[in-house]
Structure formats: structure tokens, C-alpha cells
Symmetry: C2
Subunit: 254 residues, 2 copies
């Protein structure tokens, strides 16, 4: 049995709490947060607290807070000899350097509280200051996920950057698509199967090999037509830049 | 029973052939193409031909060819009184104007021959010159797909443009993500669940509401760090433009 406490009540804390609760091998000792109301979603009152000085003993404390709070809040953990980890993609493990036993438990997924997802499929990226702690984190991660990776701080930084592209920027591109549909009275749902298939395809094909479309073909006629169709200067700029980048990637100049 | 002939042997022709073959209500009369070898994938020899003058009678002829060939090849169809349709998102119905009965049967999906997909989920966008022909196209479309839409030439043009964003540009963004992973020795597969979930999310949430990330939060600290991390000037330009566009969308200036 691994004893775990979670610091935080946000999206990551919520999904970790749910995943840990489903394992008979994990005991959630406490959930600690500033907001009493938010804590109510985490079960019985005696298992939650707003008072950082009332921490009970756990094997692992998981600091599931915003990047800017990790360093400060982790210093409030005064229990010695336990392992302290954060869950951030973009924060070095050294943010926890007041603790000798430190590490990272980074679940690489986009979480929202309302969204049920199967934690088994969530990749968990681990880092620790020593081998025994890494083994402990691996044990914990394997109890909730089938995708466990050992990832250095540098690698995690690059993963976080790649995730901004594939999650945040992709979502913005979806937004542009939905706005074009709205302007022309076409339901955006028509594009949903295409969007799902585009995401599905890269499981069996590299994005480099999966690329299609006018820029890939060097079809300047279609590109000009599309640029004429676009009224919004923002969307025009995005269309132009991405088309140029695609043409460069495949060795043609616009 | 609807009698259909397909002109073309490419990706769209292949997937239409497979879908039509699975319906007991559709008879594929002929597949017509220039390339004898490519035609072999379409069954018995007597059902295929390279000779456009040997067309047999069908209720509908589907011109599943590249945009630039549609007008020219459709003029080779000399059988009168049948319905001629093309399958292009980006070509007006008027490209078939030598035929009195004309229309569009546009399956909005990214097709590759090797990729099995369930045609039932493919949205089919229909247009026709008259009501009876539209009804005939609807009957055909409903035999193979559960997503059938009546879409004008103007609407189809905007759908095609939106599809370039959500399919081609999204795939390029995936490519950038995979290159960042490669440079840092991280397997790109780690990002796959995030990519799938990002695509899945828009089924229940608008992309506008689903947007997260540093640009959405106005987190200029993280944005600067990411720009520093990026060595490739192309990727830097994409990161900058998309971040600025996201900030503008949510009312903040970079």
C-alpha cells in the first residue's frame, strides 16, 4: 500500500484523486487546498484540510498546483523523509530543492473536471533524484496508467513545448475552422469525422507522411483562391504562414 | 437498385467503390480509368474499362478525379439523360455544365487507399441542379453514410477551406510536435493520447471554450521560455503568430 497526499484541488488534482481512488494499492491520506468549497469534491471532511501545518504522514506528497506556486507551497511541507513531487511539464525538479527526496509525476494530458477520461491511457512522465524514489514513483504510476515513461527535466520541457503545438495550437486551428463554418452557415459538426481521422492517422503514419492538401501539392491556384475567400486578416496570416512552412518542408518555395 | 459508374481509380474512387460494393441496393456498372494496372483493384475485367467511348448505361456517373480533370473528362461522357456528379470540395457544380443533369457527391474525409475506414461516418455533401436529382443523390448517399448534408457550391467552398485548416494545418502542427520530440529524444507516441483527446473534446465543447495553454492565460513568461527553446525559425514564427492570434481572440495583446 502506497500512502499518498495531494496538494491542490484543480483539474490535475481531481483526475489524480479519481485514478488513485480506484486502486486498492493506494491510500489517499489527505487532500490539502486553500478553498474549503473546492475540497468538498474530495470526499470526507477528515481527509481534507486547508491547514498546511496539519499534514499527516504520507509516503508521497503530490504538489498539483500552478507552476508559480510549486516552489512556495512545497516549502510548507515540513514532514521529513517523504518524497515530494510536482506534476508540471514546465517546471524543473529543482523547484523542490528544499527537499532531499524530490521528483516529478507529470501526467501528459488535457484535463478538465467535467471530462471523464480513462487514466490508464494517460502517459505519466517520471523523474526522481534517486533510484529508489524513481522505483517508488514507477510503482505508483503503474497502478493507475499503462503508459509510464522516465523523462528528464530537459526532455519534459520539450514535451511540454510539443504539447502546446499539438494541443493548444491544434485547438486554435479547430477554432478557425469553426468560425469559417459559422460565417457560411455550415454546421461545424460536418468536420468532426475529418478531425477525428486526422488525429487517428498519426497512430499508424508519421505526420510527415500523412501530409496532404494544396500546400503539400504546391497547388498555388487553390492557395490563392483560399486566401481570397478569407476576410479575417488573422486567419489569412495563419493560412499564409502555415502553407509556406508546409511547402518549405517538402522542398518547394511559394 | 441504383446503377452507378465510377470514373477514376484514386483514393476517393477506391473508397466509394468499397462502400457501394457493400450495399445490396447499389449496382456498380463500371469503373473507368486510364491506368489498366490501377483498374485491377476494382474487380472483374468486364466491369472495368480504359475506353471512355465504351461507357455502359448507369443512373449516375461519379467523376472522382482531380479538380483540373473534372471539366474535361466529364465532357467525354456521351450518354444522355443520366446524372453526372463530381466529388470535389473545391469545384463548382458548373464545371459539369455540358450536362443538363448535374450534381456533386462530396465525401468530406481524408482518404488513403491503405486506410480502412467506416464509410457510414463519412459526411457526404450533396448538391444537384434539380429536386428529383437531389432526391436520387440522397437515396444513394443514405445507402452508404449516416451523415448526409445538402450543401451549396458556396458552402462547400467554405467547408473545403475549413478542412484545409482542420486537416492539413493540424497535421503540419503534429509534424512540428514530432520534430521537437525527435530533436530531444522523446518518443512522439507520448503525445498521441493528448492529440486524440484534443480532437475528441470538440465533440462536446466548442474549440473556443476548449482553449487552454500559455497564450490563452496570457502567460508571457512561459511564451518567452518556449520561444527561446525553439531553434528552428519556421517553428518560432508559427509559435509567435498562433500565440498572438490566440491572445487576440481572448482579448489580450501580446
Amino acid at each position: 500500500m502506497i500512502k499518498v497526499s495531494i496538494l491542490g484541488t484543480g483539474n490535475v488534482a481531481t483526475h489524480l484523486f479519481r485514478a488513485f481512488s480506484n486502486s486498492a494499492e493506494i491510500e489517499i491520506v489527505q487532500v490539502i487546498g486553500r478553498n474549503k468549497e473546492a475540497l468538498q469534491a474530495f470526499g470526507k471532511e477528515e481527509k481534507t484540510t486547508t491547514d498546511f501545518s496539519r499534514l499527516k504522514f504520507s509516503d508521497i506528497y503530490i504538489v498539483a498546483l500552478s507552476d508559480s506556486s510549486i516552489n512556495f507551497v512545497s516549502q510548507e511541507i515540513t514532514i521529513n523523509n517523504s518524497l515530494i513531487v510536482h506534476t508540471s511539464g514546465n517546471t524543473p525538479m529543482s523547484a523542490l530543492s528544499t527537499h532531499q527526496r524530490r521528483g516529478v509525476f507529470y501526467p501528459l494530458q488535457t484535463f478538465s473536471k467535467s471530462n471523464e477520461l480513462d487514466f490508464k491511457n494517460v502517459p505519466v512522465c517520471l523523474e526522481a533524484n534517486d533510484e529508489a524514489d524513481l522505483a517508488l514513483l514507477k510503482k505508483l504510476a503503474h497502478l493507475v496508467s499503462e503508459n509510464v515513461y522516465e523523462i528528464s527535466t530537459e526532455q519534459r520541457k520539450s514535451l511540454h513545448l510539443a504539447a502546446v503545438f499539438t494541443n493548444n495550437f491544434t485547438n486554435y486551428i479547430y477554432h478557425v475552422g469553426s468560425e469559417i463554418c459559422k460565417e457560411n452557415n455550415v454546421p461545424f459538426e460536418i468536420l468532426s469525422p475529418l478531425i477525428q481521422e486526422t488525429a487517428e492517422k498519426i497512430k499508424s503514419l508519421s505526420p510527415f507522411d500523412a501530409q496532404t492538401g494544396p500546400a503539400r501539392r504546391g497547388d498555388h491556384n487553390t492557395i490563392s483562391n483560399h486566401l481570397e475567400q478569407l476576410n479575417n486578416p488573422e486567419y489569412k496570416a495563419v493560412y499564409e504562414l502555415l502553407s509556406k512552412s508546409i511547402e518549405k518542408t517538402y522542398g518547394k518555395e511559394l
